[in-house]
């Protein structure tokens, strides 16, 4: 994928992240069980989005590096 596509993915991902951890979406993910790795589901949900950010920004940076080399 191109740098431009990864830029759009990164923006979309972080807007979705903000929506996922606030009302009303977070209200749909609001029971502690089933636990995930021993953690309440809402806490694991937040951690999942945090880790996803790492992946998306890493891929965006890789696309930027390819674009700069080209």
């Amino acid at each position: 994928m191109t740098l431009h596509q990864w830029q759009r993915i990164a923006w979309t991902y972080h807007i979705a992240f903000a929506a996922a951890v606030t009302w009303p979406v977070q209200a749909l993910v609001n029971t502690p069980d089933p636990f995930v790795l021993g953690l309440p589901r809402q806490m694991a949900w937040a951690a999942f989005w945090v880790l996803g950010s790492l992946f998306v920004l890493w891929r965006l940076d890789a696309a930027r590096a390819r674009s700069d080399d080209a």
């Binding site: 990164a10 951890v21 609001n30 636990f35 309440p40 951690a47 945090v50 880790l51 790492l54």
Partner: protein, 486 residues
């Protein structure tokens, strides 16, 4: 050697190493304003990673985070989410701010804003608002240091003396070495606090409940209200979704705009360094998970501390841990406090001189550095006085600061990205948004849906900025291009 003596020795050893690192760090930096404030724009990835992480995660995270998990349950999860949301925009904004800094010689946030929107009033307003937000934030850090030292010495060293000791060290290395000291001490302190948090976060639930899962099962069976969002408010009543959601948004925006973090864009060696710092930031953010586990470990504990912010040292001292571990924990908590406090003191003095004084009276480079050092001491003294007054919890103080800082967002985005913005629009938007934010902080019962005052301020701020700008005369296109098309 008895336990308290060993703990005290570890604390002193930690403080001595921190002071040594801070003083030595300044030897490489030039003796100029750029060296004192921006580290000669030469920080690499390692220092940028830790200066960002350790500056963001403070006594508020290390003590306030467990305090919230313990007393307000799932409400604490908002702290886990907003950091990455606040840092991600820096992937795009950071390199642009750094490029403008290199082009025009900026070392503070307000210099960028006033460069695009020339106004000495705007510069002074930014300086006043920054100081108004920084003092409570430094206060949090000092109280955090004092709380830890008072708790582990069982009251032998009171909060006032503990805070004075820790921040006496901070003053010494900031005065000596400026931002270079902040960078390298934060690297040392960041390693410490993250290591201690993970070790304790895994150890305490295992020791007290047999594991993380069993701990949450017990909490769910006995206190299910703590594991349901949006958690509880400070009085133990259910928190509102409006307050929870807007706390995330206001804190994320505030984090993006904190002047002491914004200024670090000017310290980076390259744009790639800034981008990689942002990419790696979530790895630092996850250290809040063990911090929360420590707080939740206190829920089913048979005894309770006087204040929820004390839950972490309270548990440590009642878990029959070896003195070495207690001492290291104390050093980790002091790291969290001091690594943020030093950046704030340095940032406050830099902003006050560069944005509050320099636009009105031209000072020599030497006079600026001298005045910054005087103000580091003055801001530290003011925060110390506030730290002795126990009126607010650590997190409440921080949330109030974020409300003010969030008002910088529309102005700075306009400076870098909106060609049609005008000086009048930015000034009036900032004044209106800040006034609304302060009003709702003062009268919280009037907030609609319990929304954060910073978000309510932005609801007024953005339309004022748009309308006043569009009604006024556009800026010179050549001037605008130098800022927007970088």
């Amino acid at each position: 050697m008895d336990q308290s003596t060993l703990i005290t020795l570890i604390i002193f050893a930690y403080l001595a190493v921190t002071l040594g690192v801070g003083v030595v760090a300044g030897r490489r930096a030039s003796r100029s304003v750029q060296g004192f404030v921006a580290g000669d724009r030469d920080f690499g990835l390692l220092v940028m990673y830790f200066i960002t992480g350790a500056t963001v995660f403070s006594a508020f995270a290390f003590l306030g985070g467990p305090g919230w998990a313990y007393s307000r349950g799932a409400a604490a999860f908002y702290i886990l989410t907003y950091g990455v949301l606040g840092m991600a925009p820096w992937y795009a904004m950071g390199p642009k701010a750094a490029a403008l800094g290199r082009r025009f010689g900026f070392v503070t946030q307000a210099q960028l804003l006033v460069g695009r929107f020339p106004s000495r009033t705007l510069s002074a307003v930014m300086a006043v608002l920054t100081l108004a937000a920084f003092v409570p934030y430094v206060t949090i850090q000092m109280r955090g240091a004092g709380i830890v030292i008072e708790a582990v010495t069982d009251g032998a060293v009171p909060l006032a003396a503990g805070a004075a000791l820790a921040y006496g060290i901070v003053l010494l290395y900031v005065l000596t070495s400026g931002v270079s000291a902040v960078g390298w001490t934060n690297t040392f302190q960041g390693v410490f606090m993250v290591g201690i948090a993970w070790a304790l976060g895994i150890y305490l639930p295992n020791r007290l409940y047999g594991g993380v899962g069993p701990m949450f099962e017990q909490i769910l069976a006995n206190h299910p209200e703590l594991l349901s969002l949006p958690g509880l408010d400070g009085a133990g009543e259910p928190w509102s979704w409006g307050a929870y959601s807007t706390a995330i948004l206001a804190s994320a925006i505030g984090l993006t705009m904190w002047p002491h973090l914004f200024m670090k864009a000017y310290t980076a060696r390259s744009d790639a360094t800034i981008r990689r710092t942002v990419i790696l930031f979530p790895t630092f953010q996850l250290f809040l998970i063990p911090v929360f586990l420590i707080g939740f470990a206190g829920v089913m504990f048979p005894e309770s501390p006087e204040q929820s912010d004390f839950i972490l040292p309270f548990l440590i001292l009642r878990s029959d841990l070896p003195a070495l571990v207690v001492g290291l924990f104390c050093a980790g908590a002091l790291s969290a406090s001091m690594s943020t406090g030093d950046a704030l003191l340095h940032g406050a003095a830099s902003v006050a001189v560069q944005d509050g004084v320099q636009p009105f009276t031209r000072l020599t480079d030497r006079a600026q550095r001298l005045l910054m050092r005087v103000l580091v001491v003055a801001v530290g003294a003011a925060a110390y006085l506030f730290a002795l007054v126990e009126r607010f919890s650590l997190v409440d103080l921080l949330l109030a600061s974020y409300g003010i800082i969030a008002q910088f967002m529309p102005s700075l985005l306009s400076a870098m990205y909106w060609k049609r913005a005008t000086t009048a629009g930015v000034v009036w938007g900032l004044v209106a948004g800040s006034a609304v934010s302060v009003f709702f902080f003062r009268f919280p019962e009037l907030k609609p849906f319990g929304m954060h005052e910073g978000i309510l301020g932005l609801v007024v701020h953005i339309p004022v900025l748009l309308v006043v700008s569009l009604l006024g005369e556009a800026q010179d296109p050549d001037h605008v291009d130098r800022y927007v098309n970088v």
